[in-house]
């Protein structure tokens, strides 16, 4: 017998697990960020905690990075395999007649998210790592809010963030329920969580977009 994980279904299962993990992380990230809209103090407190807690820094953070890398590497791999299975192209194909644009273009929405993640790392994560683990600068528990506000002073950056969030929303509009199906959830159940999945897929990216625009406008 082949190992479960090397079967087509096993790979999809792993893909879905990594995606669900990312969605849980994204929710957590959102809940922290939204506090910056109404209280600099709470945002600083939470960020300082996340940034200095050894459990978060040395256990959860590496797992997260591995999860992100796994997800997009597996996404590319599946896309590559799927293209190999469809070597021949139709002259005329009407994909829209039987499926949504989102579901057929996960790789493209994923690529936009990936380019966003690279910018996001350059914006926040690399300076953060440099601050803490390269230059060992003294920790100021109140620096986080100011760093956030400074980034969102640029309208170009805010625009790029928001465009990426639209693509993230499209990715999740298909992805949320798809991940449940990949893991064997039956359709009656998937439709009961359909509302939840739409709420998440639209609400979270819209929320992130709101945070960026809020800081842009309130610090003009």
């Amino acid at each position: 017998m082949k190992n479960f994980i090397t079967t087509s279904i096993g790979k999809k299962f792993a893909m879905a697990l990594s995606a669900i993990f990312l969605m849980v992380f994204l929710l957590q990230h959102f809940l922290i960020n939204i506090t910056s809209v109404f209280s600099a103090d709470i945002f600083n407190f939470l960020s300082h905690f996340m940034g200095t807690n050894p459990l978060v820094q040395f256990i959860l953070q590496p797992i997260l990075i591995a999860g992100v890398i796994f997800h997009f590497v597996m996404g590319f791999y599946l896309e590559f395999q799927n293209r190999k299975a469809t070597k021949y192209e139709y002259h005329k194909v009407r994909g829209g007649a039987n499926s949504t644009w989102m579901s057929r273009n996960m790789i493209w929405s994923g690529l936009v998210i990936l380019s966003f993640l690279i910018l996001h790392f350059i914006d926040f994560w690399f300076p953060e790592m440099n601050h803490k683990y390269v230059e060992f600068l003294p920790e100021d528990p109140n620096r986080y809010y100011d760093e956030l506000v400074e980034k969102f002073e640029s309208p170009v950056r805010v625009l790029f963030y928001c465009v990426s969030f639209v693509l993230l929303s499209l990715h999740l509009l298909h992805g949320f329920s798809s991940s449940l199906k990949s893991m064997g959830t039956n359709k009656t159940y998937v439709s009961t969580v359909k509302n939840l999945s739409n709420f998440y897929a639209i609400g979270i990216p819209a929320g992130f977009c709101f945070i960026a625009v809020f800081h842009l406008l309130s610090h003009l």
Binding site: K84, S99, K187
Partner: protein
């Protein structure tokens, strides 16, 4: 009706094919799509040209042999029908119709519109059966009670005619709907339990070996399936494989 047909012509599996254009006239809206092709072929034969090869057998939607990707969709416009059940009244006078073979790496073209779907047979051979010897010792049907919902779901899955429209419609050429149906048909019934684990593992492995793609849950297959096989069968197969792999 007057029509322009753009048909995929390919001599054999070795040669490269191409789309060729044919004009055809006096097509009745009441003809089936295959009858329209019969008319075209009669005309081609009269003109000493090679007729267009296409698959067909029962011409009543039960054998699954008619295929054809018509105007960008498996079995053409309309839902829940095979090509032999498609009628020319679905088209308009003067229409241009693209007719292509079902495409997938695992379904190589044999000639023109005929593709080799024996990959499905090999998946079936890998486990799509129960090996209870029933000849001469048939049990009374009521001896093994089956829950009504399970019986219905098993029957729905068993209506799959192995046509391959699911593969042809899938952007990944995935065969999961077909294999999901074949796995479900047995896994829901008591008679299918003995070989349940072996069946799903062997059938999935064979499916992967044949070079079908992965499932992205786009749902195109269930929309184009002439028998309305639901995506639920794929989820059930996934569960069955998890169960079989970790026990």
């Amino acid at each position: 009706m007057r029509l322009t047909l753009k048909i995929w012509r390919q001599k054999n599996s070795e040669t490269k094919g191409k789309i060729e254009s044919y004009d055809i006239d006096e097509i009745s809206p009441d003809m089936s799509f295959l009858e329209m092709l019969d008319v075209l072929n009669a005309k081609l034969i009269n003109e000493d040209q090679e007729p267009v090869s296409f698959d067909h057998d029962c011409r009543e939607g039960i054998c699954g042999s008619c295929s054809l990707f018509i105007n960008g969709r498996a079995h053409g416009p309309d839902r829940r029908i095979t090509t032999c059940q498609l009628h020319m009244r679905k088209f308009k006078d003067g229409d241009t119709i693209y007719i292509e073979p079902f495409r997938a790496k695992a379904f190589p073209v044999i000639k023109d519109l005929v593709v080799d779907r024996s990959a499905f047979d090999r998946i079936q051979h890998a486990g799509g059966y129960i090996s209870i010897n029933t000849s001469g010792n048939t049990q009374d049907a009521n001896a093994t009670p089956v829950n009504k919902e399970d019986a219905d779901a098993a029957f729905d899955a068993a209506t799959c005619i192995g046509c391959g429209a699911c593969v042809a419609s899938c952007k990944n050429s995935s065969a999961m709907l077909f294999v999901g149906a074949k796995v479900s048909q047995y896994s829901l019934l008591p008679q299918g339990q003995t070989e349940a684990s072996r069946r799903v593992i062997n059938m999935v492995n064979q499916m992967d070996l044949e070079g079908f793609g992965n499932c992205s849950n786009t749902g195109a297959c269930e929309v184009e399936c002439p028998k309305g096989i639901s995506l639920d069968n794929i989820a059930r197969m996934n569960r069955e494989l998890v169960k079989a792999s970790f026990k």
